[in-house]
């Protein structure tokens, strides 16, 4: 190991430095470089993917000129760098310039704690495939992602534009509301794993089964909340173009606008990775314990990395799929969904899961496949019940619903009342 030139530098700085610490430092720097570059290139390609998928869903071609469409992200980037930047006269310039960076950086930092493959054996010892395996892993994700809202809020405020300000206000209210539901839904995950470190959560899922089966409703709440947290349709009210021009980034141009765009995709990637790690077993290959047990080999690392990327890409596709399928919520609907449905649901679910965990532990059921199977069975029942409640007898689509008499009466009442109001005014 001493033949590494960088390591010699560390030795000069401190002769007492043991070899492993040097390897840790070098390994971390290398991992940072790799994760950062893959992440940035991936985000650029996602903008292309979004346009291609939207085109596919709407039966169009999508970008197909620059290098048959593949070089479109590069062309977009070049264009955004070359374009003139405009600054509004009455903007608060320091915050106006800072805002795009603040919205982008937290999404990227969160990736530091997400494990993306099984440990890699090298001649210099085993290297964990995570940039920083923090003991507070998951809480770190929540803490850092809660800072992302500042970018949007400050962009809205510093632009000194009423549409931008409204976008910023909406975004802060929306993100606080859904952060609570999101945090509550993850409490169930922590109840099962008994730890907040992401590697422990993944290990727990490898032994008991994926959390999406064991904690289906928590997954549902987390998924909906992450759409709200990333400001994606159906919850993209901060930029709702039909009401607010372009929302918080109305006044931004060129690369600064592009940064908000990149930040949105970076947030999506992070949200997908979190969903994967918390509910879909992270880098765990399903139906086998082969990948979780030592000896770790390079093949295992490559395969688990592939599995992890597949899961993340699926959720990225899911984000885009939803965007081009579901229309935007109204603002009051968004708020009442967050506070009156998601939060009580999450609280009730925590109580149920805590009771079940307590009963199973008291009954002496070992944490393993049986434990998972019992939880899964209970979740199927709960999910069916939840579906019936949320569906309100409509069987998914409101277009084919039978209207109950009460609702018909209510609608009639409204239509009768409205003319009366207009008469009064007249």
């Amino acid at each position: 190991m001493t033949h590494l030139p960088l390591f010699a530098l560390f030795q000069v700085a401190d002769p007492q430095l043991p070899p492993t610490e040097g390897i840790f430092l070098i390994g971390t720097v290398v991992k940072m470089f790799i994760v950062f570059s893959v992440y940035m290139v991936g985000v650029a390609m996602l903008t292309l993917a979004e346009r291609k998928i939207s085109a596919w869903i709407q039966d169009r071609h999508g970008p197909n000129r620059v290098g048959y469409g593949w070089l479109q992200p590069a062309a977009d980037g070049l264009k955004n760098i070359m374009k003139e930047e405009t600054y509004p006269d009455s903007a608060n310039l320091p915050l106006f310039i800072l805002a795009p960076a603040i919205s982008f950086i937290p999404a990227m930092i969160t990736w530091a704690v997400i494990p993306f493959a099984s440990p890699l054996p090298t001649p210099w010892g085993r290297i964990d495939m995570v940039v920083a395996d923090l003991p507070v892993g998951f809480l770190f994700c929540l803490a850092i992602s809660s800072l992302g809202v500042y970018g949007i809020v400050l962009a809205g405020w510093s632009s000194n534009n009423k549409y931008a300000l409204l976008g910023g206000l909406r975004s802060s209210a929306q993100m606080i509301s859904y952060e609570i539901a999101m945090g509550m839904s993850t409490v169930c995950v922590l109840l099962l794993s008994g730890n907040v470190s992401l590697s422990t959560i993944i290990q727990q899922q490898a032994t008991m089964g994926w959390n999406v089966l064991l904690l289906s409703i928590a997954f549902f709440i987390f998924l909906v909340s992450s759409f709200a947290e990333t400001n994606r349709l159906p919850f993209d009210l901060p930029e709702a173009e039909s009401e607010l021009v372009a929302g918080y980034h109305t006044e931004y141009s060129a690369m600064k606008f592009s940064f908000f765009f990149i930040a949105e995709y970076a947030n999506m990637v992070t949200a997908s990775a979190l969903i994967t790690s918390l509910f879909f077993g992270g880098w765990d290959i399903p139906f086998t314990q082969w990948d979780n047990l030592p000896p770790f080999t390079v093949l295992k690392t490559v395969l688990t990395l592939g599995v992890f990327l597949t899961k993340v890409l699926f959720f990225l596709f899911f984000f885009m799929w939803i965007r081009w399928t579901v229309p935007r919520f109204r603002y009051d609907q968004l708020m009442s969904l967050g506070w009156k449905v998601m939060l009580p649901l999450a609280l009730a679910y925590i109580t149920i899961i805590a009771t079940v965990v307590l009963v199973l532990d008291r009954a002496g059921v070992a944490r393993g496949p049986v434990y998972g199977a019992i939880l899964f069975g209970m979740n199927v029942v709960l999910a069916v019940l939840l579906f019936v409640v949320l569906d309100r007898g409509r069987i998914v689509s409101p277009a084919y619903s039978r209207l109950d008499r009460e609702e018909v009466a209510r609608l009639r009442d409204m239509s009768v009342r409205n003319p009366a109001l207009t008469e009064k005014k007249a």
Binding site: E21, P135, L139, L142, A143, V149, Y150, I176, G194
Partner: protein
């Protein structure tokens, strides 16, 4: 263990974050724009969190960011933006010559008090709890906090949450318009 290297790294970062925290705190009190002041306060909170993490209190550090920077300050900024507090130059808590003199006197007194405290031979460590605390090794870094909190101090913890609930209800009652009743 390469202690010298790491202690150098440690003290460098301690002073770095400490200086940023102090500078941001000074900027926080002197800025006249409420949003700018709030942002400086966020920077201070963040540096404090970094200092906590360096003291191996990662949980408290993360909570500092999550609760103060991520939740309370966002609500604060939200309210400031919503109220849109007129011209910043007109906003001042301290007005008049006598007000300024009094404020300056209070500030000096505080500095003097802190200096006396740092020089006093008094034992400033926190009092060790008398109830034997079980620190569990399970549950990772949270175990050390959650174990005592939910076993030895459960009653105090629950009473605190009831107190917070009372405060919320009280705020709602006070904030409600009189005409509604």
């Amino acid at each position: 263990m390469g202690n010298e290297f790491f202690s150098l790294l440690y003290s460098f970062h301690f002073y770095l974050f400490g200086l940023i925290a102090v500078a941001a705190a000074i900027a926080f009190v002197t800025r006249k724009s409420p949003v700018a002041a709030a942002m400086w306060l966020v920077v201070t909170m963040f540096c404090l969190a970094a200092l906590y993490v360096m003291m191996d209190a990662q949980f408290i550090g993360v909570m500092q960011v999550l609760v103060y920077a991520g939740a309370i300050m966002v609500v604060f900024v939200f309210v400031v933006m919503l109220l849109n507090l007129g011209h910043p130059s007109e906003l001042s808590d301290i007005s008049g010559k006598w007000g300024r003199l009094f404020a300056g006197f209070l500030g000096l007194a505080l500095v003097a008090e802190i200096l006396t405290l740092t020089r006093s031979p008094m034992d400033l460590r926190l009092v060790v709890p008398t109830i034997p605390v079980t620190v569990t090794s399970t549950g990772g870094i949270i175990g050390g906090v959650s174990g005592p909190l939910f076993r030895e101090y459960l009653l105090a913890f629950e009473l605190t949450s009831v107190l917070l609930l009372i405060a919320i209800v009280g705020a709602v009652v006070l904030g409600r318009k009189r005409s509604a009743s």
